[in-house]
């Protein structure tokens, strides 16, 4: 019935930058609250609004602590795994009424939370999109108990799969060999997150905040050993695979392929990220998705002399490597 929506950002006052949001996940007892207390007590000159599920654990007096029930709502948009955190949509809207009182928002999830609805909220809800930017998902894991958690729940692997930053905590409770083994296990699930080993969640907060991990131009900024073959297969159901193509991509073919792929396999594809070289285009195209919800756009130009390779990363379950490779290869131009 109606015309196009107003251009994104047109509703916000000039100069009001989107608020960075950090999502803090991790099992009960992993050290999430310890990390949160560190962030809030350290003298960094920043003020954070904190969204938590239960008071009591938090030892810090912060007048911008918001207590919330995690309310996961299904969207009626024909997308079966599209869920959002209804409470966050309300809370972000409420906090924006006192925007000048804080520099960032930290959202603590419950131990068993699936991170997808939180992440999808920042892609799906237009109001939240305009006023905030998802900075990073930070997952705190317990070096000693993680292997056990991975055995008895999906959520532990999901939290690692979604993470941009992993705080591998309680390293003092395990031997050097156990620590290597647990880090290997994490890498098997998500090779692309930054891992910080800590005791009592002690680390510089600059390792956790202001990561810009969801900014399109940072999507694959720090991919380690990209060219090496994927880590050996685990029995863990969540893995990550990556592909590179030398020849440029035909954007129409890529869109056709990725949209069908996300629609069909989106429930298994937890996160997808890519930098693409479009045929006849001097700028890099960045792409990312959380389950079926995708976002993409041109970022800065390819650097002089830089090889224009297209790279694509999948983190998820039941990843059929040959099939994904063939699909990606079929997107090459010409």
């Amino acid at each position: 019935m109606m015309a196009e929506p107003a251009a994104p950002g047109s509703a916000s006052a000039p100069g009001s930058l989107p608020v960075p949001v950090t999502v803090l996940t991790g099992y009960l007892g992993a050290g999430k609250t310890t990390l949160l207390n560190r962030i809030l007590t350290e003298r960094h000159g920043r003020r954070y609004a904190v969204v938590i599920n239960e008071f009591g654990e938090l030892g810090v007096d912060n007048d911008l602590v918001v207590e919330s029930d995690e309310e996961v709502f299904e969207m009626n948009n024909g997308c079966i795994c599209c869920t959002v955190r209804g409470d966050l949509i309300r809370i972000v809207g409420g906090l924006m009424k006192r925007r000048d009182k804080f520099d960032g928002i930290i959202i603590e999830t419950t131990g068993l939370a699936n991170p997808a609805p939180v992440a999808q909220t920042f892609f799906v809800d237009e109001g939240v999109r305009q006023k905030t930017r998802l900075d990073a998902i930070v997952t705190v894991v317990d070096a000693k108990h993680l292997p056990g958690r991975l055995e008895d729940s999906h959520e532990a692997a999901d939290q690692i799969a979604f993470a941009d930053v992993i705080v591998l905590n309680k390293t003092d409770l395990v031997s050097a060999e156990e620590l290597e083994a647990v880090e290997e296990r994490i890498r098997g699930i998500n090779r692309f997150a930054r891992i910080h080993r800590t005791e009592r969640a002690a680390l510089p907060i600059t390792d956790v905040l202001d990561q810009s991990a969801f900014d399109l131009d940072r999507v694959l900024a720090e991919v380690p050993d990209f060219l090496t073959e994927d880590a050996h297969e685990h029995n863990d159901d969540v893995t990550s695979v990556s592909f590179e193509l030398e020849k440029p991509i035909d954007p129409e073919r890529f869109n056709a392929w990725i949209s069908v792929l996300l629609a069909e396999k989106g429930q298994d594809l937890l996160r997808t990220k890519g930098i693409l070289s479009h045929a006849g285009e001097d700028r890099r195209f960045a792409f990312q998705a959380v389950h079926m919800i995708a976002d993409g756009g041109f970022i800065g130009p390819w650097r002089e002399g830089e090889p224009r390779t297209s790279r694509l990363v999948f983190i998820g379950r039941n990843l059929n490597r040959p099939q994904l490779r063939r699909g990606f290869e079929s997107c090459q131009a010409g």
Partner: protein, 348 residues
């Protein structure tokens, strides 16, 4: 410049305004009709008596942001909820007092109904609960829901209160001894609610940029879609002939006569420049509607003729509050950037 000057003519000749420097969350006229209050993101109310050209009195009422503001049941005061968990009453003279405190939970929505002498009611929503109060501020009862309440509205007679939430609306009889609501179900997240003036329809705004309605007499569903954005601001015209809403680049009006809105296209007023309408307020005595836009433009549109009268020019921030006084002689509006104004529409 010329256009802007014209668009501002009403504001400059018949309005008074202030830069309040905090997000204007809501505006309300108290039931005596003399005073207007603006609720702000810094926790204050700014109260003014426009006819007397009074000073704008700033009253610190909440510790965080004010989240909801309505007139008190009785004249001369306002009711507000805040993110400090407080539900408070503030007199036009600036005396604020607690009605209730709800700890760390936000008092997100408020509604009031002025009945005959001392029979008025007020209500607030806090998390999953709606708390009902009498005219003196004593708590009468609490209605519980399965998910967080996203909007509340009394019907025109103050007999029922509607609460929107995930998967529908609960409609409660306020006087019922054993409280069990009529559940109006529709899958999805409902984010605001309005009750038709004749009490036979309830409409919600939905997360998916659509409205959903229920006709109470026969349970008929009404689905009104096609919005580019959320239609959070809803307002029925004086006798319920039209439902106005925000959420598009025009004021959207759905016909609630001749069988209702099903299968019909809405009327679109004051559109055409691609800017999102963010607030609507139907005039209390005429079939006219005021609309506020994302660029700060405020207009008054006559529904029958479609004629549009500019009230305030763009440029002062996204309109976030818009309300008429009871006899429709004054329109108050405020913006996200803290601009607040009252325009006089009385015959001179």
């Amino acid at each position: 410049m010329g256009e802007s000057a014209t668009a501002d003519a009403l504001l400059s000749t018949r309005g008074e305004s202030r830069a309040l420097e905090a997000f204007v969350v809501a505006a309300a006229f108290e039931r005596g009709g003399r005073f207007c209050a603006f609720a702000l993101g810094d926790g204050t109310l700014s109260i003014v008596e426009p006819a007397a050209k009074s000073e704008w009195r700033s009253v610190a009422v909440h510790e965080g942001a004010v989240l909801a503001l309505v007139p008190d049941v009785t004249p001369g005061a306002f009711l507000s909820g805040g993110d400090d968990g407080a539900f408070r009453r503030t007199t036009a003279g600036g005396a604020a007092a607690d009605i209730a405190r709800f700890g760390a939970r936000w008092v997100e929505h408020a509604a009031s109904y002025a009945g005959a002498k001392d029979t008025g009611l007020s209500a607030v929503s806090v998390s999953r609960n709606v708390h009902l109060f009498d005219a003196a501020g004593a708590r009468l009862k609490t209605f519980e829901h399965k998910s967080t309440v996203s909007g509340i509205a009394f019907d025109a007679k103050g007999k029922r209160i509607a609460a929107s939430h995930y998967n529908g609306v609960s409609l409660w009889f306020v006087a019922a001894k054993d409280a069990s609501p009529r559940e109006l179900e529709w899958k999805g997240s409902h984010i605001a609610v309005a009750v038709h003036p004749d009490g036979d329809a309830v409409v919600t705004a939905m997360q998916e940029n659509a409205l959903h309605g229920w006709r109470l007499s026969d349970g008929q569903h009404m689905r009104m879609s096609g919005y580019p954005a959320k239609a959070e601001s809803l307002s029925f015209s004086r006798r319920g002939k039209w439902l106005a809403s925000s959420g598009a680049d025009a004021i959207i009006l759905w016909p609630f006569f001749g069988g209702g809105p099903m299968g019909k296209a809405p009327l679109e007023l004051a559109g055409g420049d691609g800017v999102l309408c963010t607030r609507v307020a139907c005039h209390p005595t005429h079939d006219a509607v005021a609309g506020g836009f994302a660029d700060g433009l405020v207009v008054l549109a006559d529904i029958d003729s479609g004629r549009v009268l500019p009230v305030a020019a763009p440029g002062r921030g996204t309109v976030s509050a818009l309300v008429w006084n009871a006899d429709g002689t004054r329109l108050a509006f405020g913006t996200e950037s803290g601009f607040a104004a009252i325009v006089d529409f009385a015959k001179k």
